[in-house]
């Protein structure tokens, strides 16, 4: 602990700095979760209105095949999409950092740009581009006489994977890239003197340097894919027969329960259970590592 921190032990001035954040944090995070936990103990009945049901919403949820259908879908999606995306991001970062590319600055920025595009715009672009009504696949099917459709029940999830990978690979790539730029030059010089080749340098210096950032990108990617909502919510208005159900992902299910089915208590239970599952996975992966060096 630093000298200033020690000297101020017993003083509470630090609270004055964190209080504005803390008060709003309570309004935005703590109170809504407590209120949702309270609501999740009630059911909206046709006769009699809201009635207290204890944990019935939770036991119902755990036996709800539609909920588990969505959970398994995002779980499978995460298991496949996150490793592909992070492997691509890692390879791109190593390639861009190697100094062996032409136009590397242009490519670095271009690969990152999709991150700045809102999900609604990205879904629109990909929906039009891949769709069979206006897009590339209409042209392909017309000229080849085929009947390919990226948005049918068997392929929609792959198309969503293409969109999500498009949006977030560049962001992860840049995190890896900026970590690689921070590797002290002396390490490379020492390796060069020892006669280490490019692959040896990548394996023994670069990959170990990326370990901390890999943990963080894994956590954020898991959190992101577990709450996938925008694409499956927007796509059905663009393409017919995509196989996207009202319970396609857990968040879409919660949304439909709360806003079209008006089952608020049940939706609250679902949102809380999903938050709990995500936090459990994130902690299991690494969240404890989020601490600055000076504080440890």
């Amino acid at each position: 602990m630093s000298t200033v921190v020690t000297r101020h032990k017993g003083r509470q001035i630090g609270w004055a700095f964190v209080a504005p954040f803390g008060v709003l944090f309570a309004v935005v995070f703590v109170l809504p979760i407590l209120y949702a936990a309270y609501l999740s103990l009630f059911q909206d009945r046709l006769v009699g209105g809201m009635s207290f049901v204890g944990l019935a919403n939770y036991t119902k949820l755990l036996q709800d095949p539609q909920f588990w259908n969505g959970v398994l879908r995002v779980f499978g999606f995460t298991l496949i999409q996150v490793p592909i995306m992070l492997a691509l991001a890692l390879l791109l970062a190593l390639a861009l950092d190697s100094g062996r590319l032409h136009a590397s600055k242009f490519m670095r920025i271009a690969i990152f740009l999709p991150y700045a595009v809102p999900a609604i715009v990205s879904t629109l672009m990909w929906g039009f581009m891949l769709g069979v009504r206006y897009g590339l696949f209409r042209s392909i099917n017309e000229s080849l006489g085929t009947d390919l459709n990226p948005f049918q029940p068997g392929t929609t999830l792959i198309s969503i994977g293409v969109m999500v990978t498009w949006a977030f690979t560049g962001y992860n790539m840049l995190i890896f890239y900026s970590v690689l730029r921070a590797v002290p030059q002396e390490l490379y010089e020492a390796a060069a003197i020892d006669g280490a080749g490019q692959f040896r340098v990548a394996w023994s210096i670069k990959l170990p340097a990326l370990r901390g950032s890999l943990g963080i990108t894994v956590i954020f990617s898991i959190i992101g894919t577990f709450q996938i909502f925008n694409e499956p919510q927007i796509l059905p208005s663009m393409v017919a027969g995509s196989g996207i159900t009202t319970f396609y992902t857990p968040n879409l299910y919660a949304y439909n329960l709360a806003f079209t089915g008006s089952q608020q208590g049940y939706a609250a239970a679902l949102a809380l259970v999903m938050a709990a599952i995500t936090i459990a996975i994130a902690y299991a992966v690494q969240l404890r590592g989020l601490k600055p060096a000076r504080e440890q």
């Binding site: 999709p114 715009v121 995190i175 900026s178 949102a271």
Partner: protein, 302 residues
Amino acid sequence: MTTPVSSPVRPSPHGRQQSFTDPRRNGVLTFLTALFTLYCLLPLIWLLINATKSQADFVSSFGFSFGDGFALFDNIKELFAYDDGIFARWFLNTVLYVGVGAITSTFLAALGGYGLAKHSFTGKRAFLFVVLGSISVPGIALAIPQFMLFAKLGLTDTPWAVLIPSFINPFGLYLMWVFAAEAVPNGLLDAAKIDGAGEFRTFFQIAMPLLVPATVTVLLFSFVSIWNNYFLPLIMLKDPDWYPLTIGINQWNSMSSRAGNGELLQNLVITASLVTIIPLIAAFIALQRYWQSGLSLGAVKE
């Protein structure tokens, strides 16, 4: 291509890599990276091309070729005229949500991050545990409880319903904490106090200037996440007069997709999409010096 390979440790002014490793450009590696770059740019190229088409051209022509006429300016004119200029209203709403939200959340994060890094107080560990834990609460799982609470308080369908949740950025607080611990020397703070500066004057006059790189990064990423926010305004707002761009575009798109009686607005949807992403892309390109260095903040821990 130009630097010789013979002296691997020769210092070079062009970059650290060239000074000790084989600097030859590699065609295969460039080609493979360029393929991925093409994947990233293709939808944006598609958007640019199709924003120049009239509705009739959009329906009839190939996606990656231009239409019969160049209708970009007509589309932009129509975009801002349609439905009494509601698009301009959505644009201004978005600017309001982003401006107030990003500035407030960044300031609160800087204040809190500095407090955490440079002060010790009772309950700090518990505070950190809760706030850092909240980073892993999925935004959408949180938005539904937020909606329920705000509905109870009568805040839904007002700008506050979108603004208040955007004021809190736990990951921003984390970045500021990490950055303040490294970038603000304790000696400087001690000196300011010896000179009689109060706690808050020390923060504003000594610490804030040192926190600028992290501030720009947090500001820019808040800017993007609020500008692109979809789920929160979707559930919080019913009145189109308060829509941000993302919800407005979605409304036009689902209007034109409704078979039969829906009006076909695809040229406007596409032009609106282009107008929506231009400010973000411009901000990222203009500020790249800041966010590229800022990104490594959260990732380098050792």
